[in-house]
């Protein structure tokens, strides 16, 4: 189930409660974001056990450093996703690097490509997860249900023009997953 957008007030309130050391807030945070965190980590690492570990690290980080979230910078969900991405990529890199033999240039390049692919895939998942529902619905019909855009329009009760627009806009959003990172120092820069 995709969570509906929450008002920024919820984000600020959650941050205050975490800062205050309220264990019940931690539980609510987990209930809200655990499946997002776990699925992003799983997309990067491709391993259930490793994804569990990243999930633990992410919530540990948020619980220990609630003040490192700045509500001015965007929703808590985005920040949690960025922390997840960073920690998952960190773990992938550590795991893969450990298996590299010394001075193996080719394999180091391979590692970077792997990290980059995993990052793009995780960003894409997040974009699909958080894009406006009408765009996601159109993509789901056209891609997963194999409906053409006319059928998609009929299914959604919109004009054919609108269906074409949504499919194009949805893919445009999705294609930004290939753009390396956002501003410097952020989780996206794998």
């Amino acid at each position: 189930m995709v969570q509906k957008d929450l008002p920024p007030r919820w984000d600020r309130r959650m941050q205050q409660r975490l800062a205050r050391g309220e264990a019940a807030a931690l539980g609510e945070l987990y209930d809200r974001f655990a499946s997002l965190v776990h699925s992003l980590a799983h997309r990067v690492l491709g391993d259930e056990h490793a994804a569990d570990g990243v999930t633990r690290e992410v919530f540990g980080h948020v619980w220990e450093h609630p003040d490192s979230y700045d509500p001015q910078q965007g929703p808590l969900r985005s920040w949690v996703a960025a922390v997840t991405h960073r920690l998952a990529v960190q773990r992938l890199r550590a795991t893969e690097a450990a298996s590299l033999t010394e001075a193996d240039g080719d394999r180091a390049g391979e590692l970077e490509r792997k990290v980059s692919r995993a990052s793009v895939a995780a960003r894409a998942d997040y974009i699909v997860h958080s894009m406006p529902a009408p765009l996601r619905a159109a993509l789901e019909l056209a891609y997963f249900q194999r409906r053409d855009y006319r059928q998609t329009a009929a299914d959604l009760g919109v004009t054919e023009d609108e269906a074409r627009r949504r499919l194009r806009l949805g893919l445009q959003l999705l294609s930004t997953a290939h753009d390396a990172g956002g501003p410097p120092g952020h989780g996206g820069a794998a």
Binding site: M1, P75, Q151, G182, P183, G187
Partner: protein, 432 residues
């Protein structure tokens, strides 16, 4: 790790127009990306031939704007054959469109079936515990509210992927009334409405909103106790409950845990259940128990596996039931349902009385001495007249009215009347 990470690539900004700006360099030959993987790989039915449009397409004469608007549909192979041909013809001569087409087709490759991995319900406890070890909470969840926190989270996880078929699956609620098994038909959504209504008893006691506020305002006759509230909720809903009941139920359960953590002391307000009242801490345990029992009902109805609570939580639930037994025994006598000696061996309050040793096996287990003749008496090993041994989950099923007392798999030694009374009293603890 730097501590100032912002949202970066995960910003939720609209990306409108992103593709339009990416023009190809002049004179650069447009690249036509390869088509995506074949539909046969998806296992989904192929589209009807009729849907594919003209089988021998003649490129259509479409304006640049229309062709551009088709790029998304084209990338997804969701246009007619004639439109596809027109777009591809256009891409050979229009750099910006070709650039965007490539970008969009690559984006299609990023679409995945959403992961259907179920989150291991036990992960929650492990993750939260590890967090709390790293930074001890200043406002912990009280120990007596932890079972409720855990059970509501487990049930919510079960509901996570339910579709309409699951939400409307029939469920039969079972309990004991007057020593007879009784039941009531509802649906999965109806069960959640039931939990919402009865958890509302605790909410009201804590000064939170009553989920039945509308019902009460509509002048329904006194809506008291779990059954009455549930029936009132079901009766006054315009439609049978749907999945929409999940949000309010979960919100209320979160807010109960939040409130008892922040304000709750163990001796908070008593929670009135209609015929009786429970101290707040026991009411929270009772609600945890009911949440688990009904989660089992739901899981059974939709044929999902469901585990018993963590042993330390189960132990507290058993302890609550054991502590409620003496009053239940007295109630049976008062109502003349007790087959045991008409005149119990009354003892002054606070003094030892005839007792039954309840031995619960397993990791959640323990031993309880149940005073048989008066709720005021103290259980006594010296005055033990009977000994019953059963598994923790079995005992809970008995106390939930899911196992008839006659059939409870219990090892028994001693006074058979006393044993029968206790087993029936345990079943009598159940309610809707």
């Amino acid at each position: 790790m730097n501590g100032t990470e912002g949202s970066g690539a995960y910003d939720d900004g609209p990306g409108e127009g992103r593709g339009d700006g990416a023009a190809a360099g002049p004179g650069r030959p447009p690249r036509i990306p390869p088509p995506r993987a074949s539909v046969e790989d998806t296992g989904l039915p192929l589209p009807d031939l009729a849907d594919l449009g003209d089988p021998a397409p003649v490129p259509l004469d479409l304006s640049h704007d229309v062709l551009k608007s088709l790029l998304g549909a084209w990338a997804l192979a969701a246009c007619s054959a004639a439109e596809t041909a027109a777009v591809e013809d256009h891409l050979g001569g229009c750099g910006p469109c070709a650039e965007e087409a490539l970008r969009l087709r690559e984006a299609v490759g990023l679409l995945h079936q959403p992961e259907t991995l179920d989150l291991d319900p036990a992960l929650r406890t492990r993750v939260l515990q590890s967090c709390l070890d790293r930074r001890p909470p200043r406002i912990p969840v009280p120990e007596w509210a932890a079972p409720y926190d855990a059970e509501t989270a487990r049930l919510d996880a079960l509901l996570q992927d339910f579709g309409d078929a699951e939400w409307h699956a029939p469920v039969r609620l079972r309990w004991f009334r007057g020593d007879a098994a009784t039941s009531r038909r509802t649906t999965v959504a109806g069960v959640i409405a039931h939990l919402l209504s009865v958890d509302g008893l605790v909410a009201v006691a804590l000064g939170l909103d009553d989920p039945l506020a509308d019902v009460v305002e509509k002048g329904e006759e006194a809506v008291r106790g779990p059954g009455g509230r549930t029936e009132a909720f079901w009766r006054t809903s315009h439609f049978p409950p749907t999945r929409s009941v999940r949000g309010p139920w979960r919100e209320q359960s979160h807010s109960l845990v939040r409130t008892v953590s922040v304000t709750g002391t163990a001796d908070g307000p008593a929670v009135p259940y209609g015929d009786f009242a429970l101290p707040l801490r026991d009411a929270m345990l009772d609600r945890a128990f009911e949440c688990w029992v009904h989660a089992e009902d739901i899981a059974e109805a939709v044929d999902y596996p469901y585990e018993p609570p963590a042993p330390r939580h189960l132990n507290r639930m058993i302890d609550l039931a054991a502590r409620m037994l003496p009053v239940a025994l007295a109630e049976r006598r008062r109502q003349g349902r007790s087959a045991a000696a008409a005149a119990p061996h009354l003892v002054p309050a606070g003094t030892p009385g005839r007792s039954l040793r309840l031995e619960i096996e397993g990791t959640a287990g323990g031993e309880w001495l149940i005073p048989l003749d008066s709720p005021g008496a103290v259980g006594s090993a010296d005055l033990e007249v009977a000994h019953v041994a059963l598994d923790g989950v079995e005992f809970c099923k008995l106390a939930a009215g899911h196992v008839p007392p006659e059939e409870a798999a219990a090892g028994q030694v001693g006074d058979r009347e006393a044993i029968r009374e206790v087993l029936f009293a345990a079943a009598g603890l159940s309610r809707m």
